[in-house]
Chain length 227, copies 2
DNA sequence: ATAAACGATCTACGCTGTATACAATCTACA
DNA sequence: TGTAGATTGTATACAGCGTAGATCGTTTAT
């Protein structure tokens, strides 16, 4: 009866959304499910596995229905399927979906870099990226690396946004003036105007994705020329 | 007497290196310093601040002596200093240094995305990157974004390497064969050969850095043309 | 000399993950 | 229908956690 496991994961995700990841304890989850803490163990094994399960649950929700696009149509030799958007918008959609998830569940981003994430759902997501990169003309030898780079940037951006790594340059006004107790900050001083303006994270995310797209195209172009 | 704080941070870092980040507790750190747990609070405030301090300590060690290069010489209008390497190798050196730190202290990488890292040392590091980007010809409006992108990739790579996000594709042999309980994996199937070979993380890191360098140059080139 | 601030201590509270032992309930077969 | 076995949840307990609160020398300032 694995409905129980789903219910447990639901409860854990709900608690993390409402009160933060630190509030997710075996006791709090158990209470929400209406059961004693030890009753969770047959279903989730231990707390680390529970966190993995929470992350997996989120990745599954990336595409609500079945698979995001008709399966197949990934190998370059096969030609493109009819109703499928091109590789660029496919990657864009995935990236945006991932950032949306991270925004809705800020706790998730910090988990990505801490756990391997070997769930079947995440492997499926990787496969879709592989397909897009192959369609773009990236040589096979570079595809896994670029997939990892894409993931690093998207997850990293989401994690930074959620975890606060992007905030401090504004909250610390002294550094934007090019001064620090220990010495001058010529770079900050030269950028005072830009640093004073509030950042537009949506625009920044899109710009990053666009830059990644250029990397992909440049890689594909190099491969075409050297062949 | 802030030597005491240094000693506390030293002890905490040593414990994390030896027994992992989870082993860093107020009690264990206090014991190593030779003091009761509550005696730490006047110096580090609370546990979260202690973790911040540990991270800051590592960033300071990025350049052992004083500052990495003679201060100043960042603003583009000022021309280049004599003994300073060009912006590309400067960024390369910083990136490599950061990955080395993450390799020596794997626990640190997971902290980066969880805490804002507002310490003076990290601000100084950011300033150096600003200087390099300005020297490369990146327009001021894009410099902060690219600095964040660089940091995201380098930290993200280090965190992935240390946290295990890069491992599973090999440890899960079934996925490299293009098969999964739930359905086919056309992308994995098409890349079977490449996925079977072991990855060279040093080479991958260098390749990623090179790609970032191209983004920087492309941005600078666009700015030159549109002016 | 008196007052104030500081550094360190001890105790205690409520919380954590989970090993272990036990009880209740449902299933299957005679 | 009776009973054995498996399944599922409970109760208790332990060692460890972060830190609030009160206390107490010792140092510094007035």
């Amino acid at each position: 009866m694995p409905d129980r496991k789903e219910a447990i994961l639901d409860a854990a995700v709900a608690i993390a959304d409402e009160r933060g990841l630190d509030a997710v304890s075996m006791r709090s989850v158990a209470e929400r499910v209406g059961v004693t803490p030890m009753a969770l163990y047959p279903y989730v094994g231990n707390k680390a596995a529970l966190l993995d399960g929470m992350l997996g649950r989120l990745l599954r929700d990336m595409w609500p229905g079945e698979s995001p696009w008709p399966a197949g149509g990934a190998a370059g030799a096969e030609g493109d399927q009819a109703g499928q958007p091109d590789w660029r918008t496919r990657l864009l959609i995935m990236g945006r979906a991932l950032r949306d998830i991270a925004k809705r569940h800020p706790w998730a981003a910090s988990l990505v870099f801490a756990r391997p994430a070997v769930t079947p759902d995440s492997v499926r997501a990787i496969d879709v990226v592989y397909g897009a990169l192959l369609e773009a003309g990236v040589p096979a030898g570079q595809v896994p690396r670029l997939e990892r780079l894409l993931g690093t940037v998207v997850f990293g951006f989401a994690a930074s946004e959620a975890g606060g790594r992007f905030d401090p340059s504004e909250t610390n006004p002294r550094s934007t003036r090019g001064l620090l107790p220990e010495g001058p900050l010529p770079g900050h001083a030269a950028l005072a105007d830009v640093l004073a303006a509030p950042a537009d994270w949506d625009a920044e995310f899109e710009a990053d994705i666009a830059d990644l797209g250029e990397i992909i195209e440049a890689t594909a172009r190099r491969a075409r020329e050297h062949e």
